[in-house]
C-alpha cells in the first residue's frame, strides 16, 4: 500500500492483495507525469493543475474540467471467456477519453473500478497493465483505482470494469457543434473494428448462431481467430485530435466532433448536429473492416440495423469548415490516422441520412 498513489481494495485477502499491489505498481508508475503528486498509502489520487508552470498557464486561462465515465459493456464477458485480460483496459480508457475529446478537452488523469468474483492478482495485474497502456496512449495519468472482490454479485471468472477520466478545456474553446453549417465537410477516422459496442449482438451471432469457437481461424477475417478479431482494442484518438486542435486553435475550423459508440453513426452524430442541419453520409466512401460484413451475413442482420448497432468502420467523426477539410485530413493522416471524407452537412432537421 505504500508505493503507489491510491489503489484501494475492498474485502480481499491480504496476501493476494499485496501481490496484486506489487504487480500493478509499475503499470501505474508508467503513466505518471510531473503533475502527479505521490502520496504513499494515500486515500486519494492527486494531480496538480500547474498554475506555476509556463506551459500550462499559457494554455489555460479559464479552464473547465471535463469528466467522463464509461464501461466496456459485454466486451468484458468476451475477455473473461477468452481468458485474455491485457487489452480490455485499453478499451476502458478509450471509451472515456474519446468522449472527452469531443468537447475539445485533453485528458489529464484516469481512475478505474475493477469488480470481480475473487481477487486473482495475475488477472488484476493484466487488467491494470491494459489500463495503463491505454493511459499512455491517451497521455493521461492513472492516479487511482479500486478493486472490489464481490463473490455474491459476480460469477466465478466474471468481472466488470468502469473507468473515469478527467480532462481540461479552455472555456471559450469548448466545441459544442454550434458552428456547424450547411456545406461543412464530415471526416471519418477509421475504427480498429467493433471497438466496445454491439458485443451483445456480435457474441450472439458468433457463438450462438454461427457456433464458432474463440480460437477458430476464419478466411473471412483474414486468417485471424474470432477471439483476436473481437478483442481488438478500441482506437484511442487523443494524440492526433489534441495536436489538431492545438494547430487550428486560432482558426477554429473544427466545428464539431463525435465519438461513434452505441447507436453508431446514426445515433451519435445527431448529438452534435444543430437542429436545422442534416449529416449526409456516403456509405461507400470508406472501407468496412471485414468483421462487419461477416457479422451482417452470419446473422443475418439488416443493413440499417448494422448502422444502428455498430460503428461500421468509422470510430470518430469531425465536422470541419470545407476550405480546411483537405489540410485537416492530410495532417491527421500524417499523425497516423486513416481518414476519409465521408459526407457533408446540408440544411435539414438534425438527422443522419445514409446514401449508397
Amino acid at each position: 500500500m505504500s508505493k503507489y498513489v491510491s489503489y484501494e481494495q475492498a474485502g480481499v485477502n491480504i496476501d493476494a492483495n499485496d501481490e496484486m499491489v506489487e504487480r500493478i505498481q509499475s503499470s501505474l508508475a508508467s503513466t505518471f507525469g510531473p503533475r502527479v503528486i505521490a502520496l504513499p498509502g494515500g486515500f486519494a489520487g492527486l494531480f496538480r493543475l500547474d498554475y506555476d508552470e509556463k506551459l500550462f498557464k499559457k494554455n489555460y486561462k479559464n479552464p473547465v474540467l471535463v469528466a467522463c465515465t464509461d464501461g466496456v459493456g459485454s466486451k468484458v464477458q468476451l475477455a473473461a471467456k477468452a481468458r485474455k485480460f491485457d487489452t480490455v483496459g485499453i478499451d476502458l480508457v478509450a471509451m472515456s477519453v474519446n468522449d472527452m475529446l469531443v468537447i475539445g478537452a485533453e485528458p489529464l488523469f484516469f481512475l478505474d473500478y475493477v469488480a470481480l468474483h475473487k481477487l486473482e492478482p495475475a488477472l488484476v495485474a493484466e487488467l491494470v497493465k491494459g489500463i495503463a497502456a491505454g493511459c499512455r496512449m491517451a497521455d493521461c495519468a492513472l492516479i487511482g483505482g479500486e478493486t472490489a472482490e464481490m463473490p455474491d454479485t459476480y460469477r466465478k471468472g466474471d468481472f466488470d470494469l468502469a473507468g473515469f477520466a478527467v480532462g481540461v478545456v479552455e472555456r471559450d474553446k469548448t466545441i459544442t457543434g454550434k458552428k456547424v453549417r450547411p456545406g461543412d465537410v464530415i471526416l471519418g477516422l477509421r475504427s480498429s473494428g467493433l471497438h466496445s459496442n454491439g458485443y451483445t449482438l456480435a457474441r450472439n451471432i458468433c457463438f450462438k448462431q454461427a457456433r464458432l469457437k474463440m480460437n477458430d481461424v476464419l478466411d473471412e477475417l483474414d486468417g485471424t481467430t474470432v477471439g483476436e478479431t473481437l478483442l481488438t482494442p478500441t482506437r484511442i484518438y487523443v494524440q492526433p485530435i489534441v495536436k489538431l486542435l492545438t494547430k487550428y486553435k486560432v482558426k477554429r475550423v473544427v466545428h464539431a466532433m463525435a465519438h461513434i459508440t452505441g447507436g453508431g453513426l446514426v445515433g451519435n452524430i445527431p448529438r452534435i448536429l444543430p437542429k436545422d442541419c442534416n449529416a449526409v453520409l456516403k456509405k461507400s466512401s470508406w472501407p468496412r473492416p471485414k468483421i462487419f460484413p461477416f457479422l451482417q451475413k452470419a446473422g443475418p442482420v439488416e443493413e440499417d440495423e448494422m448502422f444502428r448497432v455498430f460503428n461500421m468502420g468509422i470510430g470518430y467523426v469531425l465536422i470541419v469548415a470545407a476550405d480546411f477539410a483537405d489540410s485537416i485530413g492530410r495532417n491527421l493522416q500524417r499523425w497516423g490516422e486513416k481518414v476519409n471524407r465521408i459526407g457533408t452537412v446540408t440544411a435539414g432537421s438534425g438527422k443522419v441520412v445514409l446514401k449508397n
Copy 2:
C-alpha cells in the same frame, strides 16, 4: 438526452431509457451549482474552475485536483435483496468524498457507474435519487454517469455501483500526517452504523447464522428491522470537516485525518501515522451502536476481528494538536457531529494500540 449534462447508457432499450432519463433529470439538476456548465446531449460533464470569481481565486492559488473512486461492496446485494434502492447512493457518495476529505480537499463533482441485469427505469431512478441526495450532503455536483445493461454479467435483480469524486485542495494545505507527533489528541466522529464495510460478514451472520429475515424487528436493535439497521446510509462528513479546515486554515492544528472503512480503526489509522508514532485508543471512550454487539454475539466474532472488519462506531478520525482538541471538538459538535476524544498519539512504530 437533451436536458441533462451527460448521462449515457449502453445497450438499453430506447423507451426504458427515455423514461429513465426523464426520471433522473430532476435528481441531477438538484445538485448543480453555478460552476456546472450545461451541455445538452453532451458526451461529457463540464465543471468550471472559476478563475474569474473572487471567492475561488481567494481560496486556491495553487490548486491540486484530488480524485477518489469506490463502490459500496456487498451492501448492494443487501439493497437488492431488500428491494430498497434510494439510500445506497448516499453510501456510494460517502465512500469517495469521505476519502477525499482526509487530504483536506473539498469535493467539486461526482460521477456514477450503474451496471445491472436489465434496465428498470424506476430502479435506476431510485439509485440516482440516492446518489443526488449524497451529492447535496457533500456539496458536490452530479455531472455525469453511465448506466450499463449487462444481462450476462449480472443476475436478475442484481446490480453494482461505482462512484468517482473529484475535489480540490490548495497545494500547501494538503494534509498528509507529517505533522502528527506524540501528545496529539485523537478525536473520533461517530458513525451511523456499519457504513459500507464488513457486509459480507454481517450478511453471513444475520441471514445464515442467525437466520433472520429482512423485516424481522429486534429488541436488541431498538425495535428497528434488520433491513433498516443494515441499510442505514454511511455518514457524510464533508460539511463539518470543510468548515473546520476553513476555520483553522491559518493555525493548521489538524495534523491528520482518516476515513474508517475496510480494515477498521486498526487498518486505516496507520495509513496516516508517522512510522515513529502509535495511536493509543481507549475502547470504552465512545459508545458502540447496538448493531456491533449484536453481530459480535450472534456470530460469535472475536473482539479483535470485530475491530479489523468494522468501524465499531467511529466513522472518521482526526488527529489534532492537543491544545486545540477541546475547541475543535466543540465546533464539530456544534455543526452536528457526535465527537469523542478516543485516544492519544505516543512514540511508537506506526501502529494502533487498543486499550480497554
